[in-house]
Subunit: 434 residues, 2 copies
């Protein structure tokens, strides 16, 4: 066979050479991306609105496919929280379509003039944003990722190759089928959004090779084991964070009421997201006044506290922290607490243990805050704010495909702007180089 | 041993575990990069000026080391052009030091505010430029690359690990030794610039692994075989172009005098640089008037012409072009010439054969030029200008460490701005996320 059908019609099967079939998907994506790169803002936005409309119109088919996925996962003994992530209903599907509509309403990131300069010889050089190309998105149970990621890519002029987790393949395929109808409605290539139609895990390995140059970047959306595998094996760039081991540092000059409010929010608003705080550092200069109220607040709110010696003295409910605790992203109602010698102690601890995702300092001392903002080498550094703001939506990016902690190209929330590349346009009037 | 001395004192030797020794170099670079990232603009510029001064003061040692390199290369039978690239004299060394001084005079790319936005909740979010980290530069015979690349990295707040070609190792080591004296003069870590002190090619392989996370990006500076190996093996991002198969398209509405001037310059000003034109496309609509003068000009200027059937009819000196010619970067006084059916024919040819480096259209029709500028997917697209302007200096970047054709992070000339990353600074007043 020369290619798997990847139209999301649910034709799950495998045979012949999987890699060759994946490359055929890649080639179709590259071809579609070239067409999409030339589409106008109006054409792309019309396609996105048509995709949302087709998703709403396809609700019966999508929900039926989802019911099969959920039933199979239930029979396989998946826990309730997993089934909840996987499950769709009419309201959730409408919200997913609404998110696609709101992506249509974002500003077009393509064609922006990023810089203009005129050279002494009269050449006018512009740096302009272009689509990035073909994005491979590898995700797990949440079928809404298919819609979000596909729509963000289309907005940025990129073709998407989506690889769903086995448990959500029927749901994601039904959503992609609807999106492809919307693309066709608007006269854009259906292959702007494709889904890998097989459960074979070898398909992931194929994507990580870049499919003979047909994939420009991989975005893994899922747990740490998925991200670790992708970062280890990928031969193309990856936009991802392995973990969010986020720190809050309560400095000597922190206002206690604000510290109580922000620490509670940073740790406990939602414990399972990457921007949740995992380690609380308290300046020894304010430990006498701030440590006990903070620890008591956390314990009383149902958070387990693992502390150093000073923290253990505050409350008998505190259990000892080990070296491993400073390195652990709990993603749960557990926090590690350590008393550190001032700003430099906090900077040293963060340099040693941070995952370079998000760190926040709480202080009323502006000069200390500036040093923290300058010296902490993380994608996001904050002053007097909750680490849970580490989110593309909260940053005003409209939506994000993920958060990246690499130092290249995309760092922090990855929104539509980060899904673009750029080129230089040089306008002359006959110049030759001396 | 726990590490090779990499101070450029010329202590060439190997023993024990090369990879471990390379990782030790990487760790020193990472440590130095953390210090350098906090250096002020004034400190970095003072260091660069001190590096230039130390290079001038070390001229006797550098020229003596270079004489040894040249003698060995001559004894090994290297051709004159190679020996010329390798050779230094007082004037060349002074120019190399002058280039470092001019890098000191560039604007500091670190700390620039790239974007600022205030959220409805009062959070002020800034995107600010930061150093990229540690840059590995792998080069061949030209010892000036050590000075250029090291200075560009220091300007951008990055530590450099330099790997010289075997033939230039003594020269490059002597230059690096002088640069390290300058760094120390200015109170910055000497390890901001290191050179790999062994000729063992396994050192390159070690660098391409990223040295356990100690190298953030690799920049190969050399011939196609070096770049191909780096692109194939590197497990970290690479800023490079494999080749510059640049096209000039003479459109129907091109002004003939301008076309003659630009085509001659684009092909023949210097034939060995990546921005040199390799293929000339002529619109069939102006072939009757433009093709013969262009081909005759090229032939009379000493350029071999390999043409399609139409081009062969123009002059008996034209030899037939094969499919392979459309795919060949000659880097020599040879050009492939093809008559194409209008703008779309040129776009199709370029999409098929271009290396995505630089392409130029010559036309007086602004609408046609805009389509070309929009639709050609290359790092640099030009209108009525010579492709030989594809250069960081000509772009006003002051200097470049290379030209990249990838779509991520750095594309086109890689100057000091492209050697930076960024982070987000978020300033709050107690905000928690709802």
């Amino acid at each position: 066979m020369d290619g798997l059908a990847s139209g999301g019609t649910g034709d799950i099967g495998n045979g012949g050479d999987l890699f060759a079939a994946m490359v055929a998907i890649g080639r179709r994506a590259r071809y579609a991306a070239r067409k999409l790169a030339l589409a106008s803002t109006a054409e792309k936005d019309a396609a996105l609105r048509a995709m949302a409309a087709r998703m709403r119109a396809s609700a019966p088919a999508i929900l039926a496919a989802n019911a099969e996925d959920v039933e199979e996962a239930r029979a396989a003994g998946q826990p309730a929280s997993y089934l909840d992530r996987l499950s769709l209903d009419a309201a959730r599907l409408d919200a997913i379509a609404g998110a696609v509509d709101s992506i249509a309403a974002l500003a077009d990131p393509v064609g922006r003039t990023l810089a203009t300069f005129t050279r002494p010889n009269g050449l006018v050089i512009e740096r302009v944003a272009t689509p990035l190309g073909v994005i491979g998105v590898i995700f797990e149970a949440r079928p809404n990722v298919a819609a979000d990621a596909g729509a963000l890519c289309v907005k940025a002029g990129d073709a998407a190759i989506l690889r769903a987790g086995s448990d959500s393949l029927r749901s994601a395929s039904a959503i992609v089928a609807a999106m492809r109808l919307g693309l066709a409605d608007a006269g854009l290539p259906e292959d702007c959004v494709q889904i890998v139609p097989v459960r074979d895990r070898a398909a992931v390995g194929a994507m990580l090779t870049g499919l003979n140059g047909c994939i420009d970047v991989i975005v893994p959306r899922g747990g740490k084991s998925l991200v670790a595998r992708v970062q280890e094996e990928a031969r193309v760039p990856v936009f991802a964070h392995l973990e969010g081991l986020c720190h809050v540092f309560v400095h000597e000059k922190a206002e206690l009421g604000m510290a109580l409010s922000i620490v509670k929010n940073a740790k406990l608003r939602r414990t399972g997201i990457c921007g949740a705080a995992e380690t609380l550092l308290v300046d020894e200069a304010c430990a006498a006044t701030h440590l006990a109220p903070l620890v008591t607040m956390l314990l009383d709110a149902g958070c387990a506290v693992r502390g150093d010696a000073a923290t253990q003295k505050v409350d008998p409910r505190v259990t000892p922290a080990t070296e491993e605790d400073w390195r652990t992203e709990y993603l749960d109602a557990i926090i590690a607490v350590r008393v550190v010698p001032g700003l430099d102690g906090a900077l040293d601890h963060i340099a040693e243990y941070s995952s370079s995702h998000t760190e926040s300092i709480l202080t009323q001392d502006g000069a200390v805050a500036e040093r923290f903002l300058a010296e902490v080498d993380s994608a996001i550094v904050m002053h007097n704010a909750s680490t849970q703001f580490a989110d593309g939506g909260e940053f005003g990016f409209g939506a994000e495909i993920g958060i990246a902690t690499g130092r290249m190209h995309a760092r922090g929330p990855v929104g539509v702007e980060q899904l673009t590349s750029f080129k230089y346009r040089v306008r002359g009037s006959g110049q030759t180089r001396p």
